[in-house]
Symmetry: C2
Subunit: 354 residues, 2 copies
């Protein structure tokens, strides 16, 4: 086990540890003894032949990131006699980690928390930064807190069995991080190591995750509670993307939707002469080289539900939804957009009938 990164937030520092393999990880966690409470989902429980005694297994899938399951976790913690010094250890993707972290922040106003992300998306996205959440009344992540984990343990090992769709989902967020840094170190790494990354070379993945987390850390440390607009830059592609995810009833994966949303934001930025042409081209090149479909458009019949989903976006502030646009790598702005601009970026052209 090796400490590689530490992320300092107002209320807590999160240590990010890289485990050399699953054995290393198990060995490390077993040192915590008995005052722990384990949260798995129906996939991650398979990582262990025998589960520890105090555990709960949550059904996997976004539809389970719910008040009902949050209550199940809290009820289980009560039944195990967990206290504020109990360590909650969560194994899973974003759904389990966001929900377990919310439970950890709420139970007795906060327990100890170890997150073990088991998808690429959750390694680069949900693991640091302290955002916890469940969905509620059809609104994604509408209930949550800021509660950084004490530690995050990353084992590239567990990605070997990740379905291709899930892996590509995580790569979407990695690509986003590549656009958020002006030194292009992650951008170039992704371009230069495309084949090894797509075939899941363990060392390349580890390096990619490290570079990605370094960029994310830069933004969240400056604006832990998303009050200055800086942290909002991490939502590049998300306002457009979330609404697509939402109208697809989450059939389109988060990462795919974010890549699509970044393309829409790039198109909007170019139309408004905000995004520089060279940056636009390099960005689209990276997304295409990893095989994402950024040409998809919203059908005109879907516009009303898409617009409704946009207006419910939680980044809404002062009555208007704000979008993150890219000026150049690492240089972003937060701005409302005219309806026309949004439509031009996402809608199919009208079919003109004679």
């Amino acid at each position: 086990m090796e400490e590689r990164l530490s992320c300092a937030l107002a209320t807590k520092d999160t240590k990010v540890l890289f485990a050399s393999d699953i054995k290393d990880l198990s060995h490390y966690l077993s040192s915590y003894g008995d005052n722990v409470f384990w949260i798995f989902d129906t996939n991650t429980r398979m990582l262990f032949s025998r589960l520890p005694e105090k555990n709960i297994v949550i059904d996997s899938g976004e539809e389970n990131k719910s008040m009902r399951n949050l209550e199940k976790i809290i009820t289980a913690a009560l039944s195990f006699g967990s206290a504020r010094d109990t360590r909650l250890i969560a194994f899973g993707g974003g759904v389990v980690l966001d929900m377990a972290a919310l439970a950890s922040s709420l139970y007795m106003r906060g327990t100890r928390l170890t997150l073990v992300p088991t998808t690429l998306l959750s390694m680069v996205d949900a693991s640091i930064g302290g955002k916890t959440a469940i969905d509620y009344a059809g609104a994604k992540n509408i209930i949550g807190t800021f509660y950084p984990a004490d530690e995050v343990i990353i084992s590239a090992d567990v990605l070997r069995s990740l379905p291709e769709r899930e892996y590509k989902c995580g790569l979407g967020e990695v690509i986003k991080h590549a656009f958020l840094s002006d030194d292009l170190s992650l951008y170039n790494f992704l371009i230069d190591n495309r084949d090894e990354i797509l075939s899941r070379d363990k060392d390349k993945i580890r390096k990619m995750i490290y570079l990605s987390l370094e960029i994310k850390k830069y933004y969240i440390e400056q604006d832990p509670q998303e009050k200055k607009g800086i942290r909002s830059y991490l939502n590049f592609g998300h306002t457009f993307g979330h609404a697509l995810e939402s109208i697809s009833s989450f059939k389109i994966s988060h990462g795919e939707a974010v890549v699509w949303g970044m393309r829409a934001a790039l198109d909007a930025g170019r139309a408004l002469k905000i995004t520089e042409q060279e940056c636009y081209e390099k960005a689209v090149k990276l997304m295409n080289s990893y095989g994402y479909n950024t040409e998809r458009k919203i059908g005109r019949g879907e516009w009303l539900s898409y617009a409704e989903a946009i207006s419910r976006d939680k980044k809404k502030s002062g009555g208007s939804v704000k979008f993150v646009l890219l000026k150049n790598f690492g240089s972003l702005i937060l701005t409302p957009l005219e309806k026309n601009t949004i439509q031009e970026a996402v809608l199919q052209s009208a079919i003109i009938k004679f």
Copy 2:
């Protein structure tokens, strides 16, 4: 409107404002315009002849500090289109304030928050310090967060119609604060102005609240998230008291229970030669002069449920429940207690049958 106190916590400063009367309060709040969401209970709604449009009214009473009502508040916020910059303004006692503040901390990971405490207890206890909560599965305050309000507005006016039992309930916490300061300023103020305070002289009440908040502020600023043990000193009397509240099914008021719990803690402290005799006598004198019944004992038949309630206390840590004991005014310790010591402090003597 006058700013009298500011309480600085890790994530936010809370301003405490004293309104000269209800008109002053209304005038101040109306300046916030339309991006607000009002929370009342069935008592505090009576303060206004006409309620503002975006409001929710919660049934008063501890049994309503529930997940169900938390969800009702969040659902209403969604239906009003509230966003992160919406100001939630809560009027009420501890039940409404704790729950509204929890809703505010959870909705989109945190909205703006103004608390208007309308009971003496909530003015001196729930208003500053950022503890939010609901009860769950029979466990008091088991679900909550740390989320300081942006501002707390105190109007001694609203206490005129407070039932005597409620007023005495708040005085219990004020008396507790008097024991937590070594300069005895609040202690002496309470002794010297007993009659005016009991007859609710407005100016004396205001001064008493100010002195009380100054003492509370001293403890929470040093330990905002109750991690160093310092903030726990504010729980003096609470571990004994909560358990009594709990086995009485909350028929005994919080303040009464806390005063009773402080007497139990004083008795335990004296038995262990921790509490100094002069301090013990002065403390009991103050509690008695305000007419509290500190002689009550737990029946032997209630011991099991009392002990069970103690063991569920959320201050439980490392497998043992810790109690706050008073060495002298402003000097406290946090310690586990033997079963014998607890029994001697709270139980009726056995009736010896021949």
